[in-house]
């Protein structure tokens, strides 16, 4: 086995060429991991809006709250289910909610579609992850609204103490809440009846039901589906939000992986060029290695390892660059909910390991053919060169 030290020195001896190749490989790994982190960020932003003990009730067949409708009577019936948890005051934790879209003005004349959620008295209690960070909860029966923290500052009046105007009415902002970076942080919450009358929507869009424990979920979902009094279906809240994220996350993932794949072909070719040049300029050296007794397969392994080192260096560079993006936050339209969501690049250990492996793999593949050429050299020819 040729010592690794030899490879490291060889790479260092041709710094410019090595540096350019590592940079190229690093850019590819950067795009690869940034895309995965972005898709992951969307999913965790939306999926974090779910508690496994909560069920979202929608009209059967509805793909989202925006196109769903739930009658007021049905919400009362749902509250009588034995699996429903009770709040501190003994009332069942069931809330009829109304979801409408509001176009809030944004600086520069554009508008952004924002989800306005009309909530009931139990909505906050049924979602322990939602907590007010400043101000107070909107009082029932008034136009007061609370903002998700991702909305603060996105529209001129979207701050605590500001006053939003939509649907011909004024909506004072009295509180700001956080929801563990989930989708609710991109929403504004107000009273369901006030929003309902402002938008001419007598029915709820959905109902939220908190169960005593997540184990009751399967039975509850079945009971709702089979109940002849209404045509509704229940979904565990985390699954509902994961479904809402799937389209946008798939789009980004497909686009990103497609591009990373194309990029990686280019980068592998780049690594190949570099390694061919390394082999070509070191023919005499390689011949010497063979002459002092190293086997063909040792030479082969040495070149492949050298190329893998290039790739690994690119992987480290790219992964570090991608990790630096986690402080960037992005808002974009989710085609499924038709509202804007805010999310960031969310790294996982899996993505970082994947990035390093991807870089090393590109180096390995790029080094294979040059290594074969190096191993095939005959000692005499090589020494004479």
């Amino acid at each position: 086995m040729v010592p690794l030290f030899y490879n490291a020195r060889s790479l260092w001896a041709r710094r410019l060429s090595t540096g350019l190749t590592v940079l190229g490989l690093g850019l590819v790994v950067f795009v690869f991991s940034a895309v995965l982190m972005l898709a992951n960020g969307i999913e965790s932003a939306l999926a974090a809006g779910g508690d496994p003990a909560n069920a979202v009730i929608l009209r059967k067949g509805a793909t989202g709250e925006l196109v769903s409708a739930v009658e007021r009577d049905a919400v009362r019936v749902l509250a009588t289910d034995p699996a429903v948890a009770s709040g501190p005051d003994g009332a069942p934790l069931v809330a009829g909610e109304l979801v409408v879209l509001v176009a809030l003005p944004r600086d520069g004349g554009q508008a952004m579609n924002t989800t306005a959620r009309g909530v009931g008295p139990q909505s906050f209690a049924a979602r322990p992850e939602v907590r007010l960070v400043s101000g107070r909860a909107p009082r029932p029966g008034t136009n007061e609204v609370a903002l998700g923290s991702a909305l603060v500052g996105t529209s001129p009046e979207a701050t605590l103490g500001g006053e939003l105007r939509f649907a011909q009415q004024r909506w004072p902002v009295v509180g700001v809440f956080e929801a563990r970076a989930g989708a609710f942080e991109s929403e504004l919450w107000g009273d369901a009846s006030r929003l309902g009358s402002a938008f001419g929507r007598p029915e709820y869009s959905s109902a939220l039901v908190r169960l005593r424990s997540a184990e009751d979920m399967d039975a509850f979902v079945r009971r709702v589906g089979e109940d002849a009094r209404f045509t509704l279906e229940a979904k565990p809240e985390p699954r509902y939000w994961a479904d809402q994220a799937s389209g946008l996350a798939t789009f980004i993932r497909v686009l990103g992986l497609f591009v990373s794949f194309v990029f990686s072909v280019g980068a592998v070719l780049g690594a190949m060029i570099t390694m061919y040049a390394q082999v070509a300029t070191r023919i005499a050296e390689l011949g010497m290695l063979r002459a002092v007794g190293f086997r063909r397969r040792s030479v082969l392994a040495s070149v492949v390892v050298e190329s893998a080192m290039l790739g690994a260096a690119g992987g480290v560079l790219g992964a570090l660059g991608a990790l630096a993006t986690r402080w960037i936050h992005i808002r974009t339209l989710n085609f499924q909910t038709f509202a804007e969501v805010s999310f960031g690049f969310t790294p996982t250990p899996g993505i970082v390991v994947g990035a390093l492996l991807f870089g090393t793999l590109m180096g390995l593949v790029g080094g294979l053919l040059p290594a074969l050429r190096a191993a095939r050299l005959s000692i005499l020819d090589a020494l004479r060169a």
């Binding site: 350019l20 190229g24 059967k60 196109v67 001419g200 389209g247 072909v265 060029i273 061919y276 339209l333």
Partner: protein, 388 residues
């Protein structure tokens, strides 16, 4: 030996490396064209927008409807030559969003007056207009599902619950490039007069599309429409079709920006690959280049030699990339068709191809600049002594 022949010989010094470089460059050019096309896709609606068309929607948000009674009031305004209304239906073929395509309820009698970029045989058109549940579908969509006039298509309503069956009465084509032929439109009465529709949802329009006689006066007409309904329970927001479409793009601007950044990163990668190759070639040929200069070649000529080499590599890569790009775009289109619907025809624009060739040329010249300057900066005597 002529100059051109000298460039040619230098290029072929290491054919394997040349081939790999061109291939790597071509991959980059293809990816560049692909991403630019994806960006164009976001702007597709805005590009196809007509200057004489206004879109009227509910001021609160696009999902809130407008009363149907606005139809006559807008139509009576001076400057308005045609008006139609449409309602996003959002039906799906199955239970899920799979096999997605856009479907609207439209006013069959006025739809083509406001959207003259769509056309169909007059027999099919009159059949569409006389059937209360008639549907008119784009030829690209028709090809996707193999639908033809006379077929019955059942959609599951997402916004309007239940199963809705429509009779395909005609297949429209675009009269100019850029017309979207992937739509499914059906007659409004089928929705509005159905017993399945709740009373509260009757006589509503999603948006109104209005044509004005003089595009220069469209701002005036828009202000007149919004002013007329400002104090009603359903105030409107009227904007040009282009502004309306750009509003959607603005909401996705973060994604568009990310794609733009990545497409620039590609150019950087091409730069690195070609620059690396040229640097290697120049380093190995230090003695040859010094010899040329000893023979009396001016430094400018030597720089030109290296730059010509890089330009050839860049152009060859661009040519290969342009050839490969269409199949890549089509592959991507097939991959996302089931979830996001088909891509319109000719999304890949000549402009994008020209841009990619120019970018490849510029990047390769830039990549050649450093090695070329390095080649002439070395004193001739030192260069002659150098062993690669």
């Amino acid at each position: 030996m002529t100059f051109g022949r000298l460039v040619w010989r230098d290029l072929l010094r290491n054919p394997l490396r040349l081939g790999l470089t061109i291939l790597a460059g071509a991959v980059g050019v293809t990816a560049f064209i692909f991403l630019r096309t994806v960006i164009d896709l976001f702007y597709f609606g805005a590009e196809a927008a007509q200057v004489d068309r206004l879109i009227v929607r509910n001021k609160v948000s696009i999902t809130q409807p407008l009363p149907l009674s606005y139809y006559a009031r807008i139509a009576a305004l001076p400057g308005v030559t045609a008006i139609t209304h449409q309602e996003w239906f959002g039906g799906t073929l199955g239970e899920t969003q799979k096999d997605f395509f856009a479907n609207f309820a439209v006013d069959a009698s006025t739809f083509l007056e406001v959207f003259p970029e769509f056309t169909a045989p007059s027999g099919q058109l009159s059949a569409f207009r006389s059937d209360p549940c008639g549907a008119l579908i784009g030829d690209k969509l028709a090809r996707r599902f193999g639908w033809k006039p006379g077929d019955r298509v059942t959609l599951k309503g997402q916004i309007y619950p239940g199963d809705w069956t429509f009779n395909v009465r005609g297949i429209y084509t675009g009269t100019r490039p850029g017309a979207d032929t992937t739509l499914f439109v059906f007659s409004y009465p089928c929705l509005n007069e159905s017993a399945q529709l709740p009373e509260a949802a009757k006589d509503q329009a999603g948006i109104y599309a209005v044509r004005v006689d003089d595009p220069a006066r469209s701002g005036e007409v828009a202000a007149a429409i919004d002013g007329m309904f400002a104090n009603s329970p359903y105030p409107t927001k009227t904007e040009s079709e282009r502004a309306f479409q750009l509003g959607f793009v603005a909401m996705s601007s973060a994604i568009v920006t990310a794609i733009r950044v990545v497409s620039t990163v590609i150019l950087l990668i091409i730069l690195l690959v070609i620059g690396n190759t040229l640097a290697m070639g120049v380093r190995e040929r230090t003695r040859d280049l010094a010899t040329l200069r000893a023979m009396g070649f001016r430094p400018g000529k030597v720089v030109l030699l290296v730059l010509a080499e890089s330009a050839v590599i860049g152009l060859a890569a661009a040519a290969l990339g342009v050839l490969a790009a269409p199949s890549l775009v089509n592959g991507f289109a097939r991959l996302i068709a089931s979830q996001f619907g088909q891509l319109p025809d000719n999304v890949m624009q000549v402009r994008t191809l020209v841009l990619s060739v120019l970018a490849a040329l510029a990047v390769s010249l830039l990549a050649g600049a450093v090695p070329a300057l390095r080649a002439v900066r070395l004193p001739v005597a030192e260069g002659l002594r150098k062993v690669a």
